[in-house]
Subunit: 245 residues, 2 copies
């Protein structure tokens, strides 16, 4: 945890925030804060800031908060075929830490039907995992998550309203194009990552007809969570290189 995230509703007009939950335990037992000490904070979907420890009373910590800028929404959106629950559990925090503006989870021919039954698709389960990733990465912007059971309807009817990413790429093991060159130097990128067994021909054709360019990571086949982390990192670095940052 590299920042402590607060809910907007927790901040009083005078900037005092009192926490008594896991965050208080983190402040007291990991950071071992004492009165007067500043700690990095952030308001969920709001600004970053500094909270100065005003008082400690048992397990209750009060912070006097000042706020600075609100982080930009990450420039990468992710279209992801619902992975196995075990993989999805590993991915939520990593997705948020790497930086994703929107997660569009979709069905696909090679997604097993029971993958949709997992509690990992419930907001009450994944939101804490996303917040964990944001606290790791010092970000406040929670990825927007939507879940789509009909791939064709999603791509044909809904995708353009969900994301305005001008550059669209699809991970395709058969492609020899590196994500570094395949990602156009656009304002936003939409990255599509298929199921363990890959997109089928219909799905890949539909994605291509909607402007997705194929990219690949070379001849090695990676586990889907490894591939997802690698592709997100490469997409961010390609954008960073393009922006000259």
């Amino acid at each position: 945890v590299n920042i402590v995230l607060l809910d907007a509703s927790e901040a009083t007009p005078d900037g005092l925030v009192t926490v008594d939950d896991d965050r208080a335990r983190h402040l007291l037992t990991v950071l071992r804060v004492s009165p007067g000490q500043p700690v990095r904070i952030g308001v969920i979907d709001g600004p970053l800031g500094i909270g100065t420890v005003r008082s400690i009373d048992g397990g209750i910590v009060t912070l006097a908060c000042t706020f600075s800028e609100t982080p930009e929404r990450p420039k990468v959106d992710l279209l992801l075929a619902v992975p196995r629950p075990k993989v999805l559990r590993r991915l939520w925090a990593q997705i948020a830490a790497l930086g994703v503006g929107r997660v569009i989870l979709t069905n696909a021919a090679r997604v097993e039907r029971n993958y949709f039954d997992t509690h990992l698709l419930n907001e009450s389960t994944y939101r804490p995992l996303l917040l964990e990733g944001l606290q790791q990465a010092r970000d406040t912007r929670v990825p927007t998550v939507t879940i789509h059971r009909q791939f064709r309807k999603l791509i044909e009817d809904d995708l353009d309203t969900l994301t305005d990413a001008a550059s669209r790429v699809v991970a395709d093991p058969a492609s020899r194009v590196s994500p570094l060159t395949g990602v156009a130097t656009a304002r936003r990128v939409l990255l599509a990552v298929g199921p363990e067994g890959g997109w089928n021909d219909f799905e890949l054709g539909l994605l291509r007809s909607r402007g997705f360019a194929s990219v690949g990571l070379g001849p090695r086949t990676l586990r889907s969570d490894t591939a997802c982390v690698a592709l997100l990192a490469l997409t961010h670095e390609a954008l960073r290189a393009a922006s000259g940052a």
Copy 2:
């Protein structure tokens, strides 16, 4: 599992290999092979090939094998401060899948002493995890693993004999240089990834004095396993881009 790995000792001169363990179960229950069917195989640290199912007898499968080329050793070596056991468990297979020629595990000031007590540092534990990653990535070359308890001795006395990587980079959150530009277009790259809390000043100074250039992944702080996967993927892509592949 995208290839079935065999030990060199299992192949008879006539090219017949009989398996009756997890590999047989995988062939029978996941791939559902039948006689005459070809499956991708590889000899550990040897060639890739094709095994044609000759016979199935209960849980025993006999393959008639022909071999082709031996994969090149991956062009990236990894110098990794021993991570928490939970992180190390997640990393072994991913390291092998992404492709690492040599894993040099080291102590560092911010590595907790008890991290060395884990069975995940025993070859009998990590070798099956490495093979799992190789079978995912269709590679046969098992990363060479060495474990070093004295960082200074490792860097000053042993490192040059362990790797001949001409390009050396160290992940440093303070660096604004992307791995894409920081990785020199060399034959081999040695990538150094520090402990959760980072290298200390002495360690970073010693690495720099030995030719390590700092690279960073931007302002977001990543969990060490996420960072390791991201950095390995970026290093491979930088090499691939440089080689024009």
